[in-house]
């Protein structure tokens, strides 16, 4: 009785999260997130801090005129805006392609939608519809 829910994760909740956590599918999802988000976070923070340090300690370089009254400081400042937009777009593209399908597959399995025949077909065959469907169901619940 006590061990039954854990021994049979496909049908009953709560799911056995430790088993899911150690599954290869989950490991793939985690590494797809971490290997993208962690280095990128480090990179943009270093790029930002580099810019801050240049502003503090490289006054002459930052004051170099580029065009008219525009100097290097402004160009680098605007570049910070540009890279922010770019990284946001890049991450979202990565998430849609690499994270969402994996997350939805695991979620569907855990929430038992895989037990009913149409769900896995939809999730595997038409991933674009899958997420919307889940979102609506969840919103209605």
């Amino acid at each position: 009785m006590i061990t039954a829910p854990n021994a049979d994760p496909g049908q009953h909740d709560p799911p056995d999260y430790r088993q899911v956590q150690s599954s290869p599918e989950f490991a793939e999802l985690r590494s797809a997130h971490r290997s993208f988000a962690f280095p990128l976070t480090l990179a943009f923070i270093l790029w930002y801090l580099g810019y801050v340090l240049l502003s503090s300690y490289a006054g002459a370089f930052m004051a170099t005129k580029v065009a008219g009254h525009l100097n290097v400081a402004f160009v680098l400042g605007i570049a910070q805006f540009a890279t922010t937009f770019l990284i946001a777009w890049w991450y979202s593209r990565h998430a849609a392609a690499r994270l969402d399908p994996r997350a939805e597959a695991i979620k569907a399995r855990l929430e038992g939608t895989a037990a009913t025949p149409p769900a896995p077909v939809r999730a595997a065959g038409a991933p674009k519809d899958g997420p919307e469907q889940t979102g609506v169901q969840e919103a209605g619940a």
Binding site: A37, G59, Q80, L110, E111
Partner: protein, 540 residues
Amino acid sequence: MNLTQHLAAGGAGEHRTLIVTLFAVFVAATLGLTVWAGRQTKGADDFYAGGRQFSGFQNGLAISGDYMSAASFLGIAGAIALFGYDGFLYSIGFLVAWLVALLLVAEPLRNSGRFTMGDVLAYRMRQRPVRTAAGTSTIVVSIFYLLAQMAGAGALVTLLLGITSEAGKILVVVLVGIVMILYVTIGGMKGTTWVQMVKAVLLIAGTLLITFLVAWRFHFNLSALLGAAAENSGKGSAFLEPGLKYGATATSKIDFISLGLALVLGTAGLPHILIRFYTVPTAKAARKSVNWAIGIIGVFYLMTLALGFGAAALLKPATITASNKAGNTAAPLLAQEIGGGAGSTGGAILLAVISAVAFATILAVVAGLTLASSSSFAHDLYVNVLRKGRATEKEEVGAARWATVGIGAIAIVLGVFARSLNVAGLVALAFAVAASANLPTLLYSLFWKRFTTQGALWSIYGGLLSSVLLVLFSPVVSGKETSMFPGADFAVFPLENPGLISIPLGFLLGWLGSLLSREAPDAAKYAELEVRSLTGTGAH
């Protein structure tokens, strides 16, 4: 001419009427919205999370409305107008910071939390101590931030309504406080979200208008605008280079690095921003809302260039500082100037419009802050700590409404004392506290399996205490003409922003507290949090 005196002398009676009318229209319209939203607010999901039915775009707009505070609009414009390029550095930090929220925080938080930041911080931990810590730091950060908004309101009122008597200023701060309490108690998160969306549209429209008029004046030539600003500021090309505000001494240079660190790491630890992610149905919608917010906020901050350098180019530096020492009224003054100058009808109308927008900005942001702190008070402290999780939904929402009134009252009292501080500087302090106390615990909780209750407590309290104490003994509070208490001098810590010390300390204490913990980390709970936060399984 001193505009405040000019207005006070009665030459602008009709302008004042116009400002008050526009503002009254905004308050009436948003209160109407709030009452409408309040009718649909039934349970805790509605009050705390607006029913979780907002779309990514709507929430992106509301996040922008919540984030583009008086600090951005008045503080940054003022800082650029007085210090040139160094003021612009604020905008960059405020924007880049959103990437931390996007890449690491927004989606897992939406997936695993319910109403507050404390939900995620306490997920794997012993509930009562960690909830207490999370609730405390939420309320402290929000009050710092509220202080900044109230300071902005005080400065605006002095300028716009010509109210110079202390009693008059206090009355206006009280009125702002009462309206914000009404928004939150009646409309909850749903009402607050709509107010923030309306405000975001108004703020963007107002800023676009001024930006366009400034650009028109300088024939859409950024270089010409910068040149005129440099010349008019009396500081020459130094005005366009880093260093005027932060480059003076070795200390101020370090202060600037401290500020930069606080700005970039603070956003993802601000409770009033984090709870906005609960208003959308899924993590994907949360991601979409951050993307919209980054777009809207980015464009807005680019326009602060036109506002700040426009003010520097078209107004005398003495005019700006005479109106408000910290520069907080540079944007409305610029609006008046670009509309035709003091005394002209165009100038009066633009001044009124921009002032009403600025008031709207303050109201919407204070509502969001009050909601964040009263949510945390009711959900984290009252229900989960005092009542040990045994309170009905009705009692919980009731407690949140009463907390709103209490926190509103505290904000009003503090607002009266904070009028002469630069608003952007004050907000930077709130960011430092958020980055030191909240972000380390949030990141460790989500991504580090060996994190323990003791680690969470050390990190939250260590980050919180160190940042608040360092501020207390900094030139922000005493020892300088612009300090909160200029008469006293107990500023033993030289930096205005504590981030450089307190943020690494928060991270270090979280790590050390976990390693030295006698209690083993809860592996089962971590598995649950990790799976839920990445997949959205069981999300509320």
